[in-house]
């Protein structure tokens, strides 16, 4: 009989990251997945990173995860999004060669020591409220002290194309229905979400000569802190547009769309609408942009980003061919919508442990998120939770003021998901501080203490921090009079105040080059360090103010809840909240917040009540 510390179910992005992290912690781990050749497959768009998502990848990378490295090894079109905007909202992204990405992930996993089991997990096994492993569809059992379930879109997955519907987890792959049914018998309540994907096109049948091309950046920004540059050839994407003819075709056939024909009950993401949605909801727009993204260097397959659909095959062909450059295009695989089961993430702890049973962790699409990066980040968090549970490792704190991962976990566990959840920079209220360039400084030290970060990465990190510190102290030691500043072209009022380098850099328009004229030693530093101190200076006043907000938040959370506090007497608390809080008896508001399912509104009600009682007592 096989016996493991942890078994990861699902070899998608959440699963791979979880598995690799479990191995880094030295846990005895197994991966159970439906098809061993599909480990690390990108189900949809072959791209990693972007706005908010690029931040997540950097945070995963800062903790020595695999996603950033695999993206860099397979990247065929690196672009820094929002390059013209401020550094806090820039997001590194790359288009990946689908095949190379999967190979990179499998190669990185192969360096670790784990057991790969091909099969379908059909049931969770438990004893006295704690998970003991999984039973496979063939009846064999895999015993483990913890389980990380990352089943993606496979649980009761249903693919829709027009009025055709097929049970599948992805096109051509069988769904995992048994596990859904068994978990329901344990009390799990599943919701349904949906997402969609566009048809794949044969690039050899596209008339590229008619199209505008978007090249990769000439100074590519990598996703991993450890990568130096792209590993393979860079390619361009094509840009084309839908037109009124395209829209007419879709409008005339809208009733045949699975989504509009009433075949789908699941909720789809508003920020990732199908072409049917775009045309119906934004009827006054006569054209929509379509990016034609090559899926790799050795395939002619092209991903047309922006036209996902669940129309029947023939309508797909008609509307695609109405688009400039695609007049003679051949569809290799039709677009489709997929509906799947998810579990309300409010039932999770901040370690992503489920309230269904002890030791069961959930990560990825099953928690109501969408996207590779969101899934991978959760896989990492779940693995940390397992290591904490089994080995008592020093946990890593993910909170809203220190990481995008913290923002996501907090959003999911406190607010739940009503549509597929995707990361945006605007979700992070402290985003000026949570930049992609400082993810390592926010997380790597903690990751090392926890045992998650290898010595090699930690060494590189320490070097970087040392250089940065030297650079910062050189700037601090500067003392420049307004007159001296004027001599190097910095326009300052003659207020007689001497300024250090940080203060000078925080003046709009002042660059490192200006400062180098004053302090030549600055040129000895590498560009990355210099860029980073300049970014810090740009935001310093904002970050200080936000620091006060963070303190206020912390102050609220540190409010003590008196012993024997009477929750039933708190106005505005639902009976469910009263029951939860009365059972858990948290000592502080912060502890109450960590109780699974306790809402921010409930916390406010408790706070108000404590406040008014203490006032009552003092007079």
């Amino acid at each position: 009989m096989k016996h493991f510390d942890v078994v990861v179910v699902g070899g998608g992005h959440a699963g791979c990251e979880a598995l690799h992290a479990a191995c880094r912690y030295g846990l005895n781990a197994a991966l159970v997945t439906l098809d061993k050749n599909k480990v690390g497959v990108m189900s949809c768009n072959p791209a990693i990173g972007g706005l908010g998502k690029g931040h997540l990848v950097r945070e995963i990378d800062a903790l020595d995860g695999v996603m950033g490295t695999a993206a860099d090894l397979s990247g065929i079109q690196f672009r820094l999004l929002n390059r013209s905007k401020g550094p806090a909202v820039q997001g590194p992204r790359t288009q990946s060669d689908r095949q190379l990405y999967l190979q990179a992930i499998q190669a990185l996993l192969a360096q670790q020591d784990y057991t790969l089991i091909e099969g379908e997990a059909a049931a969770l096994m438990s004893n006295a409220g704690s998970v003991t492993g999984v039973r496979l569809a063939d009846g064999s059992e895999v015993h483990a002290r913890s389980v990380i379930l990352t089943a993606g879109t496979f649980m009761r997955g249903t693919i829709h194309i027009g009025d055709k519907r097929v049970s599948a987890g992805r096109m051509g792959e069988k769904a995992a229905d048994e596990l859904s049914l068994q978990m329901e018998s344990l009390g799990a309540v599943f919701g349904r979400l949906k997402t969609g994907t566009p048809p794949r096109l044969n690039g050899d049948t596209i008339d590229w000569s008619q199209l505008e091309l978007q090249p990769a950046d000439c100074d590519p920004v990598m996703l991993s802190f450890l990568s130096k540059g792209p590993a393979v050839q860079q390619v361009s994407c094509g840009i084309t547009h839908t037109n009124s003819h395209t829209h007419d075709i879709i409008r005339q056939n809208i009733g045949k769309s699975a989504m509009y024909g009433g075949h789908i009950e699941g909720v789809g993401p508003r920020y990732c609408p199908s072409i049917e949605d775009k045309i119906t909801r934004f009827a006054d727009k006569s054209s929509h942009q379509v990016f034609l993204e090559p899926e790799g260097l050795t395939t002619n397959c092209v991903y047309p980003n922006g036209i996902s659909t669940s129309l029947p095959d023939d309508v797909q062909e008609a509307y695609v061919r109405s688009i400039q450059g695609l007049e003679n295009v051949e569809i290799q695989q039709p677009g489709y919508a997929i509906e799947y089961d998810f579990l309300n993430p409010q039932g999770l702890s901040s370690d992503l442990e489920s309230n269904l049973m002890g030791g069961l962790f959930l990560a990825g699409q099953i928690n109501g998120t969408t996207g590779y990066e969101e899934a991978a980040a959760q896989g990492l968090v779940a693995a940390i939770g397992v290591a904490k549970r089994l080995k008592g490792v020093c946990p890593i704190t993910f909170d809203r003021s220190t990481s995008y991962i913290g923002v996501m976990i907090d959003d999911l566990t406190t607010r739940g998901a009503t549509e597929p959840y995707r990361m945006f920079t605007s979700r992070a209220e402290f985003r000026l501080k949570l930049r992609a360039d400082n993810a390592d400084q926010r997380l790597t030290e903690q990751g090392h203490t926890s045992g998650l970060v290898s010595g090699q990465r930690y060494g590189v990190y320490q070097e970087k921090v040392k250089r940065l510190d030297q650079c910062r102290s050189l700037l601090s030691s500067m003392s420049v009079s307004p007159n001296q500043a004027r001599q190097v072209g910095i326009d300052l009022g003659l207020d007689g105040r001497r300024r250090n380098g940080h203060e000078l850099l925080s003046i709009p328009g002042v660059t490192i080059a200006n400062l180098a004229d004053l302090t030549p030693r600055l040129v000895e530093f590498d560009t990355e360090s210099l860029d980073q101190v300049a970014r810090e200076a740009l935001y310093v006043t904002y970050i200080e103010r936000q620091g006060r907000d963070i303190e206020a938040l912390a102050r609220d959370l540190s409010v003590k809840i008196p012993n024997g506090f009477h929750y039933a007497g708190v106005a505005g608390l639902s009976s469910e909240m009263i029951a939860k809080l009365s059972a858990a008896r948290p000592a502080s508001l912060g502890a109450a917040k960590n109780i699974e399912g306790v809402t921010p509104a409930a916390l406010t009600a408790v706070l108000v009540s404590i406040k008014s009682q203490s006032l009552k007592n003092t007079g």
Partner: protein, 428 residues
């Protein structure tokens, strides 16, 4: 939770006194003393103690949970106001199980906790209770009926939209976003800032409705200022004598002038003096005169040079009208001639300054609005910069929004509650 009760009208003898009982058990407890009328109807009831003895014939009103001031079940007893009657009923109530005398502010606190009032309304209520004059009452009512909250909602709506536009330009920059979103952001932010600025300006004046306006009486020594002052305030507050320089300091007296709270100031005669103490008084007088809302200059002759510059709202009067033939524009404190015309004119001038629209009253509200206004100014500056620093503009906008949240009691609820509960006096 205990049911609570208290006398809701001021203590002391009065025609009618109201005793309010609030809590989940309020109806059950009240039934011990009399039959209850239907919810929403008033009933005249014989209220009896537990020994069966009649306490009083009282009007009794019942309010259902959710439909009362506190949000709980409430019973009101309107009894004849004798001290003994009230005391008897209060003591009977206090002997009931689960029923106790309310702590100061407790009714209001329950209303707040039950979501019956927002924080601004709670404050307005306390103002209403403390209102001395009709204008103070009207102003509090404007906040209490939620108009201040409505303004806040409108601002928040506009700013949230502005934030959304900025965020769209950030998070969806690789998609098709119109380039000119900043035009709408500018107009949303500008409108909001102007509206906040207008309320702030009105509020400067309105705060005087709470704290009172000041009217200074100014003139040369012995011109009759104190006599006039006394005639206005109706008592001998300032010492008057024929010796120049009697009023050495500034004497202040507060009156209700046609519904406005007005402090009249009797200032030391404005003249050079050898007397050090008097000089002190004179410089105080200059300061106070400068700050007063309306100044009444009392002069001996038409066209006489004035000690400080005249403003539009100021009033000039010839003194000692009693010793002259009755010209227009004279006033006499001695026989009261011209005094009531003068007072009407003062009231009229002050009324012009009194905002009739909704205003922010509390220091907390004004501080928050000022900060929001200045953050919005920063947003506008940043939006017009090139290249547009989206993330900074949006951050400033969030700062503004969080200031508004503070005013309207959504974020930082902690400190808002602290302020309210600590400054709040007896609970109604």
């Amino acid at each position: 939770m205990d049911s609570i009760f208290a006398q809701a009208t001021a203590t002391g003898r009065a025609g009618v006194s109201v005793i309010r009982l609030s809590g989940a058990q309020a109806f059950d407890i009240a039934r011990i003393f009399c039959n209850l009328p239907q919810v929403g109807l008033t009933g005249l009831r014989a209220v009896r103690g537990r020994d069966g003895a009649l306490i009083d014939q009282a009007l009794v009103l019942c309010f259902e949970q959710g439909a009362s001031f506190t949000g709980e079940r409430v019973v009101e007893f309107q009894v004849h106001g004798g001290l003994a009657t009230v005391a008897k009923l209060l003591s009977e109530l206090s002997e009931q199980e689960g029923c106790r005398l309310a702590e100061p502010g407790e009714f209001t606190r329950r209303a707040l906790e039950n979501g019956q009032l927002d924080l601004n309304q709670v404050e307005a209520l306390s103002d209403l209770i403390d209102a001395e004059t009709e204008s103070q009452r009207q102003q509090a009512i404007r906040v209490l009926d939620g108009r201040f909250g409505d303004a806040g909602e409108m601002w928040r709506g506009k700013l949230l939209r502005a934030a959304a536009l900025l965020e769209a330009s950030i998070d969806f920059s690789d998609e098709e976003i119109p380039d000119d979103l900043s035009v709408e952001v500018i107009s949303l932010v500008e409108e909001t800032r102007a509206s906040i600025a207008a309320i702030l300006e009105r509020s400067m004046m309105a705060s005087k409705i709470r704290t009172g306006f000041t009217v200074a009486i100014i003139g040369a020594p012995n011109v009759g200022k104190s006599t006039l002052f006394n005639a206005i305030v109706g008592r001998q507050a300032a010492i008057t004598s024929d010796v120049a320089g009697t009023t050495r300091d500034v004497i202040e007296c507060r009156v209700d002038l046609q519904g406005l709270a007005v402090s009249f100031l009797d200032t030391a005669g404005l003249r050079e003096s050898e007397d050090e103490i008097e000089n002190l008084g004179i410089s105080r007088a200059y300061e106070m005169a400068a700050a007063a809302d309306v100044r009444v200059f009392l002069v001996e002759e038409v066209g006489e040079p004035l000690p400080i510059a005249l403003r539009d709202e100021d009033i000039v009067r010839l003194n000692k009208g009693d010793e002259r033939s009755s010209d227009v524009g004279t006033v006499s404190g001695k026989n009261g001639e011209g005094v009531s015309e003068l007072l009407s004119l003062i009231a009229e001038r002050l009324m012009v300054k009194t905002p009739q629209d909704v205003v922010a009253i509390r220091e907390r509200q004004i501080t928050g609005l000022r900060a929001a206004e200045s953050f919005l100014g920063r947003v506008l500056e940043l939006i017009q910069a090139d290249p547009l620093p989206f993330e900074l503009a949006s951050q400033e906008l969030y700062f503004a929004l969080s200031e508004l949240d503070f005013v309207f009691g959504r974020i930082d609820i902690e400190s808002v509650l602290d302020e309210i509960f600590s400054s709040f006096c007896l609970g109604k």
